[in-house]
Every structure is written in structure tokens, then in C-alpha cells.
């Protein structure tokens, strides 16, 4: 087990930077999820930790010990690959025994460890089979089993459940999280699925275009995104963005739009006026921070026309047309609006966000 630190880490392919000046501290025993869309540099980051990719500049340290120049085999990490990377010519048992065998463990120790890991993952009846005789979920368990037979410094999981079907994925999310808690080993988990990152990680590192956007707990990242990009990437359904004007009315800042004019709270007013002199900014509201009704609740509500309603079992998503954009609202299934009708939405002003139109930085 080890603490992992990234200090000014850069990765360049030719002149193309894939990872730019990355700084992360990942405490011993914690679960760090690196989240971002494809091409954001998250896999490069993980491969640099594993030693499969050269670190262009900067340092990666395990317990304050630089590992830049160590070969993969000397870093003592265990990795689970996106495509499982099982050895097709070896049985499940041999696959799982491989890391131990390569480290010269006794056959009896190997047998004990592999059996224990197989039991933990409930694949002990599959040990004699070959990888091609397994289902996707079973292969994935074997790949995890191969990682946990040792007690490595660090687990590296590279989108390990991306290829499973939705139901199994939901199941495995819980299992992997439980496994990490049980073993107490530091884990770096790369994913493009914000739901996986939110539900499993202690800390999320959101990456975009090779840059670390935000490092924080799932709550922080969800409730206080540092910029519009993070706000838009995290959360499903995604946050609504509306371009609004900023106007002073009777000493209170209002966000104005053709369809509405809503006052901000005092704290928010302070932040906006401190932050910029912009007369327009981008308002961000999550679908669940809006409440919708068919009757007008107050003067400071948003008026729109229902475009479509989507029933999602327990919830309902309503798409509402404003004059220049479309926003989505999460509501209960009792909502009785029909397409084309006028509706009214109230914003929970404790839960909304404002971003600069210039650089996307969050005011609040």
C-alpha cells in the first residue's frame, strides 16, 4: 500500500501534450477516480503510473519515492485492463497465478492465494477453464482476481467494467468498491462514466484536454463544480445552461432572460460583483434544482413551453422550450403537463450556478 503523488507530470506524444502539468496527491488506502471523456489523458496518466508509458517530465512518487525510472515489474502495481488482457493459452488458474509465479512464490502459496481470491470473486468453479470459455463478466472477475492475488502498492483499474452490460455494471460497481474497502489498498480507477466515478470514488480527478479540471470528493465535484465544463460533464441528466443578463434592480442583482428575471442571494451577489464586471454570464441549473408547475407560483419564475415529457419509471424528465434554448427538468411522475402547454419553473437558488461566459469559471 502506498501514497501516490503526481508532481508536475507531463506526457507528450511528439509535440502533442496528452497530460499537462498534473498535480495530484492520492493518500494511502484511498480510492481515486480519474474521470474524463476519451482523449482527455486519463489513460496516459494511468499508463505512466504502471510504467507502460514514459513520463515526459515531472515525477510520480509512491510514498515520496520517485518511480519514474523503475520498470513496470519493479513498481509493484496490479492493473486491470479494459479488455481484460487474459492469456488465452492459459487456464483461469494459471492466469491468476501468473503474477505470483513471476515473483517466484512457492506453489503452495500460489494455490492458497489463488483459491482465496477466486472464492472472494466467486469464480472458484471456473479455475480449470480457458478464458475463451468465459462470459464477459467472468473474464472481468478473472482479470480482477489476477490483480488481487498479490498485495501490491496500488491497484490500477482502466475502465474495467466498460464492456459489461448495464445491469452487471451496476452490480460490479458495488463489488469493486467493497473490494477496495476490504483490501484497503490504494486504487486509481480510470473511467469515462461519471456515474462510476461518483458512486465509487473517495476523490475524483476530472480531466479534460490533458488538464486536471477539478480534484475533489464526489459531493464537491457535483455540488460545486469549478467551471462550466465540469458542471456539464458530471451529473445525469446534464446541467442546463442558459445565457442570462446581469441587472441591478433595487439594489439586488437579477439574472434576466426573455422568459424570466430571478434575483440572486446576497452571498451570490457578492461573488458575482467581486468576480467580474461582465454584464452577461452563463447560468447553470441541474434538472433537479428546478421545480415545475402548471400554475404561476410567483413573479420570479421561468416561463416556458413543454416540448416533451419522458417517463423514467420513478421520475419524469420534462423538456421545456424557452425562447432561445431548451432546458430539462426533473420532476415526479405525478406531473400532468402535456406537450405544447405553458409551464412555470422555480429555481432553487441555493443550488444554482453561475459561470463566466469568457472562461467558464464558476462564480458560485
Amino acid at each position: 500500500m502506498a501514497k501516490v503523488s503526481f508532481r508536475n507530470v507531463w506526457k507528450k506524444y511528439g509535440d502533442m501534450p496528452a497530460v499537462k502539468d498534473l498535480n495530484i496527491e492520492c493518500p494511502d488506502g484511498s480510492f481515486l477516480s480519474v474521470l474524463g471523456p476519451s482523449g482527455c489523458g486519463k489513460s496516459s496518466t494511468m499508463r505512466m503510473v504502471a510504467g507502460l508509458e514514459h513520463i515526459t517530465s515531472g515525477q510520480i512518487l509512491f510514498d515520496e519515492r520517485p518511480i519514474n525510472d523503475l520498470a513496470p515489474k519493479d513498481r509493484d502495481v496490479a492493473m486491470v485492463f479494459e479488455n481484460y488482457a487474459l492469456y488465452p493459452h492459459k487456464s483461469v488458474y494459471e492466469n491468476m497465478a501468473n503474477p505470483l509465479k513471476l515473483r517466484g512464490q512457492d506453489a503452495s502459496v500460489i494455490k492458497e492465494r489463488v483459491t482465496a481470491a477466486a472464492k472472494l470473486l466467486e469464480i472458484n468453479h471456473l479455475l480449470e477453464r480457458r478464458p475463451q470459455e468465459l462470459s464477459g463478466g467472468q473474464k472481468q472477475r478473472v482479470a480482477i482476481g489476477r490483480a488481487i492475488v498479490r498485495e501490491p502498492n496500488l491497484f490500477l483499474f482502466d475502465e474495467p467494467i466498460a464492456h459489461l452490460d448495464a445491469k452487471l455494471r451496476a452490480h460490479m460497481r458495488g463489488e469493486i468498491k467493497h473490494l477496495q474497502r476490504t483490501l484497503g489498498t490504494t486504487m486509481i480507477y480510470v473511467t469515462h462514466d461519471q456515474l462510476e466515478a461518483m458512486s465509487m470514488a473517495d476523490t475524483i480527478a476530472v480531466m479534460h484536454d490533458g488538464e486536471l479540471q477539478q480534484l475533489g470528493t464526489p459531493r464537491e465535484v457535483y455540488n460545486h463544480p469549478v467551471n462550466a465544463w465540469v458542471a456539464g460533464f458530471v451529473g445525469e441528466p446534464a446541467m442546463n445552461f442558459v445565457d442570462v443578463g446581469v441587472e441591478d434592480r433595487a439594489g439586488r442583482t437579477h439574472f434576466t432572460h426573455q422568459n424570466f428575471s430571478v434575483p440572486v442571494t446576497e452571498e451570490q451577489q457578492r461573488r458575482v460583483s467581486n468576480g467580474s464586471r461582465e454584464s452577461a454570464l452563463r447560468m447553470g441549473v441541474r434538472p433537479d434544482a428546478l421545480s415545475i408547475s402548471m400554475t404561476k407560483p410567483s413573479e420570479s419564475c421561468i416561463t416556458g413551453k413543454i416540448f416533451v415529457t419522458e417517463l423514467l419509471g420513478g421520475d419524469m424528465i420534462v423538456d421545456v422550450d424557452l425562447d432561445d434554448c431548451r432546458i430539462r427538468v426533473k420532476t415526479s411522475t405525478e406531473f400532468a403537463g402535456e406537450e405544447g402547454q405553458t409551464c412555470y419553473m422555480t429555481v432553487n437558488t441555493n443550488k444554482w450556478h453561475a459561470f463566466s461566459k469568457e472562461n467558464g469559471k464558476a462564480f458560485f
Binding site: 515489474k73 485492463f81 492469456y87 488465452p88 493459452h89 513471476l102 515473483r103 478464458p131 406537450e339
Partner: protein, 339 residues
């Protein structure tokens, strides 16, 4: 084989009868009138084939010329060989001889020696070619000059074996051969030329074969290396394997199938191609390089014992087929299917 199920041309008109009548069943929400409801094809007529159906026998007649030619150049000689192997064959004289051709073979020392020499020759060629070929492929794989170097390497393979034999004949020549001069200057070679000495003639022949055919192994191995899964190599590295260990436990198993194909091709060629040997030594000195196919050639076309030659050829053919079958079986067992 000659099935008439060709992909039907899909130029036929789709029927666009029926408008959104059935669609209404699935319509749960109101679609504004501005959204155009497109007519949906309710049924698609089977496109009519442009080809009129023809009987199977028609196809047979189409193939008949090819079959006829094949019969003349391949099937007929094969049966004629079997026929000859059971007879005493001379010009204008064929006589049944109660399997004498076969019965005499076990006591023919040159026939037996031919097998030993063939095995020796083939084993040496294959071992050297595989080792050098694989090493070359590993060295070339992924380098910037890979394409250029592979093209250069392939040149010997493009050469007719007879021409290659001639080139090496000159290189080995005892009076003006460059290799001969080089080796003699270095004191490795005695007074005799390479091909004239019973000790070195076989090695000389093996070198020619290695020179000419190692590129093939390199080419095949390179193709094999391209399909070694990168993630397995990486997984093994993270698991704690050294580069050598990684090669043995991941690369090699993935190379097995292509290497077996290469081995099969080359061993069959060793059994068949004797052009360069005929040019270089003709089986000599003495009988030092008289591998079985050379002996077969000699019996048939120098001594004109066509019956005996046919018997030897038949046995050689059977052995080749059996060895080939064994290799294919091994290949099937080793073939790792994809994950």
C-alpha cells in the same frame, strides 16, 4: 460449390403503398402538423434476379475445360506414377514385377542414406531459418526502416532457386569463389573447396537454403508479431515479467500458429526443391549430399529406372503427407482462440 445464391441486385422498386395508418398505433404523443409524416414502406417486393435460373449441369460444362486440363497435368500423372511403381518400366517395355520396386528398397543403402541426409538437411535448414528468421523479425519489428529492410531482405526469395544456386556456385568456387577465398584466407578452410569436401558440402547447401528462405520466415513472423495482443504483453509486464519472460510466455505462444505454418511450408519445400542442389553438387561429393529427392531424380532420369523412381516418389509423397498431417494436428491444438 456452384450454388446459384448470389446476392440479389436490389434495384427493384420499393412499394410505398399505405401511409401512416399503422403508425398511428405507435403514436403516443401529439406530433405537430408541421412535422411531416413520411409514408412508410408497408411491404417490400422481392427483387427479381437479373440472372435466369440455370441448371447445375450448365455449371459443370463451364468448369469442364479446367477439369480436363487438371486431369491431364495432375491426376493422370499421379495414377500413372502409381502404375509405374508397380512395374518394370523401360522405353517401350512395361512389365508387372510383383512389387519388386518396393521390396528392393529396404536393402538399397543409398535410398536409406537419402532419408538420413534429407532429415539432416531439412533439420539444419529449418532450425537455422527459424532462429535467424525470428530474430530478424524481432529486430525489425516496429523500427522505422522496417518496410525498406523487409523489401531488401525479400530479394533472395524472389530469385529462381536455380539462379540462386548458380550465384552461390560462383561464390563457393575453388578457383575464383569469393567465399572460398575468404574462408581459406582466414584459415578456416583447407585446400579443398567447400562443395568438394564431404565435410562441408552439406553445410554449404544448407547455407544457400537459409540465405534464400530465411526472409520468408521473417516475413511470416513479422505478420505474426503484429497480432500479438499488446495488452497481454503489458499485463504480463505489470504482473512482473522481464522482457525475456514476456517473450517466452506471451509472444511465443501467440507466434506458434504462424511459426507452424512457416515450418510446414519450409519442410515441404526441402522435400521438393532440389534445383540449387543439382546445380551446386548434384549429390556429391561421393554421395555426401545425395538427399532422397536428389537420389530419386538420379534413379529416374539418370539411370532411367522409372519404376523404382516412381516407388521412391510414392513413399516420399506419403511421408510428406503424414508429416504434414501431424503438423496440422499440432497446429490445431496449439491455436489459441481469441479472448
Amino acid at each position: 460449390m456452384t450454388d446459384a445464391t448470389m446476392p440479389k441486385t436490389s434495384g427493384a422498386a420499393r412499394k410505398t403503398s399505405g401511409n401512416g395508418r399503422n403508425l398511428d398505433l405507435f403514436r403516443v404523443r401529439h406530433i405537430p402538423d408541421s412535422v411531416e409524416s413520411r409514408p412508410v414502406p408497408m411491404s417490400v417486393t422481392e427483387p427479381t434476379s437479373l440472372n435466369k435460373p440455370v441448371s447445375k449441369s450448365f455449371y459443370f460444362w463451364l468448369m469442364a475445360p479446367a477439369i480436363l486440363v487438371l486431369a491431364f497435368i495432375s491426376i493422370y500423372p499421379f495414377f500413372w506414377m502409381i502404375y509405374m511403381s508397380l512395374h518394370d518400366v523401360d522405353i517401350g517395355h512395361v512389365e508387372w514385377n510383383n512389387f519388386a520396386n518396393f521390396i528392393k528398397l529396404p536393402s538399397d543403402s543409398r535410398f536409406l542414406m537419402g532419408w538420413v541426409l534429407l532429415a539432416e538437411y531439412s533439420a539444419m535448414c529449418l532450425t537455422l531459418q527459424i532462429i535467424i528468421g525470428v530474430f530478424l523479425a524481432l529486430a525489425l519489428n516496429g523500427t522505422r526502416l522496417e518496410k525498406v529492410l523487409v523489401t531488401t531482405l525479400l530479394m533472395p526469395m524472389m530469385m529462381a532457386p536455380l539462379v540462386a544456386g548458380m550465384v552461390w556456385y560462383f561464390l563457393y568456387n575453388g578457383t575464383f569463389g569469393w567465399y572460398h577465398w575468404l574462408l581459406q584466407s582466414l584459415g578456416i578452410l583447407g585446400a579443398k573447396s567447400i562443395l568438394a569436401s564431404a565435410n562441408t558440402a552439406m553445410i554449404g547447401l544448407v547455407l544457400v537454403d537459409v540465405w534464400q528462405w530465411t526472409p520468408l520466415i521473417t516475413l511470416i513472423t513479422l505478420a505474426g508479431l503484429k497480432r500479438v495482443p499488446q495488452d497481454q504483453l503489458e499485463a504480463n509486464m505489470v504482473d512482473g515479467a522481464s522482457p525475456f519472460r514476456n517473450f517466452v510466455s506471451v509472444t511465443l505462444p501467440n507466434l506458434y500458429p504462424v511459426l507452424l505454418i512457416a515450418i510446414m511450408l519450409r519442410f515441404m519445400d526441402n522435400f521438393r526443391f532440389i534445383d540449387s542442389i543439382l546445380v551446386l553438387t548434384g549429390g556429391g561429393p561421393g554421395n555426401a549430399t545425395k538427399i532422397l529427392p536428389v537420389y530419386l531424380f538420379e534413379v529416374s532420369f539418370k539411370f532411367f529406372k522409372l519404376g523404382r523412381g516412381a516407388a521412391i516418389a510414392l513413399i516420399l509423397l506419403i511421408v510428406t503427407i503424414i508429416l504434414g498431417k501431424i503438423l496440422v494436428r499440432v497446429f490445431d491444438r496449439q491455436q489459441p482462440s481469441k479472448v
